[in-house]
Symmetry: C2
């Protein structure tokens, strides 16, 4: 791309460094900002800078939070003995939106991924082991995505904690509610047959 302005080129280059945003999309976004009042760009830039410079993570669960201890960890009504291991804040938000989980979370901050250069030491695994050693946790719910990296991380954590006497569980994999069986992939359908549950249990929810 040949730009008529260095300022424009610079802005497009910076925006296109964001994941999933190419040069064309970046140009479209930047031209939109130029057409809008200057305030909008100011608000956007300030919001990003404030977030990046002042963002904190909860000391207990490592979720993104404005306070030292997040609202979930601080909530006395929640069951602190059940902890759900998730990858990042998006998973916390997804599970919270179901209103079906009343325990706490432990946000790893990613998955073990040799390809991306993420090892166990880059994730919040030590502090999880620490919590278990202290006897704070009775049940650990594994809720990482079922990919190669997710399974590797699950296995790594499981090996680290199997010597402790706690219950471990993993979220159920199966056919989505409302999905037709014929369109489901074999692995998911297979798992949902192997891990079938008593019929009464399914209608009680």
């Amino acid at each position: 791309m040949d730009f008529s302005s260095k300022l424009l080129e610079n802005a497009v280059n910076e925006v296109s460094r964001l994941p999933g945003i190419g040069k064309r999309t970046a140009l479209r976004l930047v031209l939109h900002l130029i057409k809008q009042p200057a305030e909008n760009t100011k608000f956007l830039s300030e919001a990003l800078l404030h977030l990046r410079n002042d963002v904190k993570t909860c000391e207990k669960c490592h979720n993104i939070s404005d306070t030292a201890i997040c609202d979930i960890c601080n909530n006395p009504k929640r069951n602190a003995e059940i902890v759900c291991i998730v990858e990042d804040i998006r998973d916390v938000m997804a599970i919270e939106s179901t209103s079906q989980f009343n325990g706490l979370y432990h946000v790893l901050g990613g998955k073990i991924s040799p390809v991306e250069g993420i090892g166990p030491q880059d994730l919040q695994i030590e502090s999880l082991v620490h919590k278990i050693e202290n006897g704070q946790i009775k049940e650990l719910v594994f809720a990482l995505s079922s990919t190669m990296e997710g399974d590797t991380t699950n296995f790594y954590i499981f090996k680290k904690i199997e010597k402790f006497e706690i219950i471990t569980s993993t979220i159920a994999r199966g056919i989505s509610v409302g999905d037709e069986l014929e369109y489901a992939d074999e692995v998911t359908l297979g798992r949902s047959i192997v891990n079938r549950i008593p019929f009464e249990q399914s209608i009680s929810r």
Copy 2:
């Protein structure tokens, strides 16, 4: 969406005000920035602020430029008597990348669109008429997109300038080079038959 952090929520809201970016995408982009070095966010914010505050448009063609007169208008090798009317800088970049046009541009800054509240007074039409009155232009090439808004704008400008003795032309519409006839829409194929050109002309390019 229920955010655990006001800073995060604010940043996601600002990013999702950009066109074509929803809350989920905004969250993904913002989380990416958090994981990256703080410098990256600084560079991004500064690039956007600099652009928005210091961006200039060429006094002659109204294209985005860092100087009062852009490089194209300043180039003595270009034919100042042929002017191509386009909507915005993206069209200039697209035509420039073909290396087939040696005239100057006139960037309108949009199209007449009652739906979006854009009238002729919001576009750089007066200055175009002014250029023609001054006798600077011999040929005017219309290169707006062939949509309802583009056609309306074309017609409005044409009515304004038809009293002047200049050549007006419009870029050729037809089947794309390399496209198969059977997949072309009828309007385009119809136009390409009505506006057929001498065979010799097609192979001389």
